[in-house]
Amino acid sequence: MATFLLRRLLQSIPVFIGIILICFALLKLSGDPTNIIASPRATAAERAKIRESLGLNRPWYEQLGRYFRGDLGDSYRHHRPVFSMIMEGAAVTARVAVSAMCIAVCLGLFSGLLSAYRPRTMIDYSSAAISSFGVSVPAFFLAMILTLIFAVHLNWLPIPRPDADWKYLIIPIATLGLLNTAMLARLTRNCMLAEMSEGYVRTARAKGRGPLRTMLTHAFPNVLVPITTVIGTDLAALLGGAVLTETACSIPGLGRVVFQAISERDHPVIIGGCLFFAVIFVTANLVVDLFYGVLDPRIRHNE
């Protein structure tokens, strides 16, 4: 186990190096950030001073080297440490993402199992129709529609705003939760139906096990591997921040921090954000891999 962990951690180092290199190269190609930082009336000398104070006139390898030393530096435009900007955004995003994922896992698995238990019935068809809607509708649009209906017209919920109170997070959490529910429900249903046609299921049924019990105790554990993979990557994607939903719902999350940085050419924040996404994805994959061992004894990490 320890060897596995160590190996995986070592494997992730080239990933981080690659990301820093690619981001840095792309940002350098995208142009000079001074124009956005400088006042429109700034003279050439003043712009040169800004470049100097941001270290943009230093050799490229010095500018790049900083990131390898783990120093993300300060935001060009917001004049504060990138690390704290990302952590503040990530904390807000994590709250929404984890809540949304909890909803998605509960509803998605339940609805998927229900569809698989009663395939080609009204339950299955309506679940499929709702899932198709959920998979196809864009998040920001759903957020706006939910706000319009429940907050503006019916006045049942408050309009989302950047407040720590849970009541303001209901709409964004519901939006992201429902969208991920749809994906999980479809996946669970399809995997379960495939699994239910396996020989061991028929054997279990022949030995007198009830249909529900066969499904839950025999077939379901076997579909958990692909489902866990999807939950892991979906959660990682959510933790990276949902720019559009965060904008539509005024959530001060990571997606907005990074998006704003991109439009402002705030290079340190963009690189910091990308590194953070990489850490999240690498960790999520690692956790999922560890879970495989728990879920399926055939996958052993010490070999």
């Binding site: 995208s30 142009g31 000079d32 950030p33 124009n35 956005i36 930082i37 400088a38 006042s39 429109p40 009336r41 700034a42 003279t43 050439a44 000398a45 003043e46 712009r47 001073k49 800004i50 100097e52 104070s53 435009r77 917001h78 004049h79 504060r80 900007m85 503040e88 955004g89 706006m144 706000t147 907050a151 503006v152 049942w156 919920l157 408050p158 309009i159 989302p160 705003r161 950047p162 407040d163 109170d165 009541k167 904008t247 539509a248 719902c249 005024s250 001060p252 907005r256 921090v257 704003q260 439009s263 402002e264 050419r265």
Partner: protein, 538 residues
């Protein structure tokens, strides 16, 4: 069960909203479109940060209703001393910073030397006319001899020569007076822990979410009538409007497309003011080839082509239909209400028939023989609507136009380095002086990214603008600027588009704001309003 949970949720929400209203404090709530990048005066250059900071800080002078310099921390606006090119400021006595310490002359010296320090400041040019400023900016000197402390309440500012705009420059938020000990205490984070002398002081700043200010009971112009001001970051324009309509904000902007609805449905909310913002279609006048400037082909070399473009655009349609009445066709570079503005200029006529004739006279009948012209604009849905309308008008006279959208940074870089044939931009004055328009945008010294993006060059205009900078005689300056503007408009480096009208929403119970907004108030942050006088009468 579900019903019960839902009922419980409704009760919780109802109770929490009751407690919110029951606080009974007079809080002025303003939605922000973005988190202010910095509240350190020397770093501020955007309307949002300025809107928050002006409630926290004061400078020596401020702008009065006529946008002329008026006393703020200074007892009076000083007279210009021609003998030694100086201003002597007498400070009000007993003015206290938010930390309780009295403002003294040494604070002015500290704040302004900091404004000249390029390591922290991004607005060093404001104090450039001060003796010794250049050495400080270049890092050659620590002290600025032009800022001299006479006694605890007197500061003498010596300039290198007459500077007619100096008192206006220092009326900007960047020249605010701040306490050294708080800057030191914040250890590089003064932009997050601002401390000034203003009517409100910062209590809490949740990044990207909320900024809470509370009243400064010791404010030198009298304790504010409000208990506090809160700003909330709501990036989506429609969400801001929805919240305003639910009574969650006292002021709000209006997303494009909703102005008509608001005017008709809620005329009691509407507040309008003209602004010092001129939008224009810039045309490439000159370009650099082999280190020399030559007229840019074809727009810069062909005045008739520029005139045809100018006559082809239907500004009335843009102002009335696209902007929903939030602009009026601009006839002069200097907006209405600005010093030296002239009503006699008519720079924007709409005459497509004449435009076609001129195009033929320019050598391109129906646009034949002319390559497609590049038209660059900032990638923004609202600007795109205007640009598409201009594009349509230009095509109607036979011009082939290649529209290109770029994000703001790339747009500025492209326009600053090498102007495209045409580009759409706007300029908002920092204060009421033509220098802020004409010098920055048309003097050949300002070529490229410094402001003169069309690379307009006329030695006569340069001389007029330079002379207007050297004299303190306002009547003479007006004459010089009017002359310069006439010459510039005759050569048409810009096809003027519109002067923007600021239309915002204000709750009817807000007192002392409506009717007091000046042309420097762009947007809904009420930047120029003296906030200690604002009240809510619910």
């Amino acid at each position: 069960m579900t019903r019960r949970i839902f009922a419980a949720l409704v009760v919780v929400l109802a109770v929490s909203s009751v407690t919110r209203a029951a606080e009974g404090k007079k809080i002025f709530r303003i939605p922000l479109s973005e988190n202010p990048p910095s509240l350190d005066p020397v770093q501020i250059q955007d309307v949002t940060s300025d809107g928050v900071a002006r409630k926290i800080f004061n400078g020596l002078v401020r702008f009065n209703a006529e946008m002329k310099p008026a006393p703020d921390l200074a007892e009076a606006v000083p007279e210009w001393n021609t003998a030694d090119n100086s201003y002597t400021f007498k400070l009000r006595k007993g003015v206290k910073f938010h930390n309780g310490r009295e403002v003294k002359a040494a604070d002015v010296k500290y704040s302004w030397e900091r404004l000249l320090d390029p390591n922290v400041s991004q607005r060093t040019q404001i104090l450039e006319p001060v003796v010794g400023a250049k050495d400080k900016i270049d890092g050659k000197a620590k002290d600025v001899p032009g800022i001299a402390i006479v006694d605890d309440y007197t500061v003498k500012i010596t300039l290198t020569g007459p500077s007619p705009t100096f008192l206006l420059e220092i009326g900007m938020v960047n020249a605010s007076i701040i306490p050294k000990e708080e800057v030191d205490k914040a250890a590089g984070a003064f932009s997050r822990k601002p401390c000034g002398t203003g009517p409100f002081k910062l209590v809490e700043w949740k990044e990207n979410a909320k900024i809470v200010l509370e009243r400064n009971a010791d404010y030198f112009l009298g304790a504010p009538k409000l208990d506090g001001v809160t700003f909330e970051v709501i990036p989506a324009p429609q969400a801001r409007l929805d919240l305003f309509q639910q009574g969650e904000f006292e002021v709000c902007d209006i997303p494009l497309g909703s102005v008509k609805k608001m005017r008709e449905g809620h005329p009691e909310w509407i507040s309008e003011n003209s602004t010092f913002r001129t939008n224009y279609l810039g045309m490439a006048m000159n370009t650099i080839a082999d280190g020399k400037s030559i007229p840019a082909d074809p727009v810069g070399t062909n005045p008739k082509l520029r005139e045809a473009i100018n006559l082809a655009v239907n500004r009335k349609y843009i102002c009335e239909v696209i902007l929903e009445g939030r602009g009026k066709p601009a006839n002069s570079i200097l907006p209405e209400g600005m010093m030296a503005h002239s009503n006699d200029l008519i720079a924007s006529k709409y005459d497509p028939a004449k435009a076609r004739t001129l195009l033929a006279e320019a050598g391109y009948p129906k646009g034949e023989g002319l390559r497609p012209l590049t038209f660059l604009y900032k990638n923004d849905p609202d600007i795109k609507k205007i640009v598409v309308s201009i594009h349509h008008d230009l095509q109607a006279i036979g011009l082939k136009v290649d529209l290109q959208a770029l994000d703001w940074g790339a747009f500025l870089e492209r326009v600053g380095k090498e102007p495209p044939d045409m580009f759409y931009l706007g300029w908002v004055a920092d204060y009421n002086d033509p220098d802020n328009f004409l010098y920055y945008l048309f003097h050949s010294r300002q070529w490229g990214e410094a402001g003169n993006e069309t690379r307009y060059k006329n030695p006569e205009v340069d001389t007029l603008l330079d002379n207007a900078r050297k004299t303190m005689d306002q009547a003479k300056r007006i004459e010089l600027y009017q002359k310069a503007e006439k010459i510039i408009l005759g050569e048409l480096p810009w096809a003027l588009m519109d002067n923007r009208i600021n239309v915002i929403l204000l709750q009817p119970y807000v007192k002392n704001v409506k009717g007091k907004l000046c042309p420097l108030d762009v947007g809904h942050y009420l930047n120029q309003i003296e906030f200690s006088t604002v009240d809510l009468e619910k």
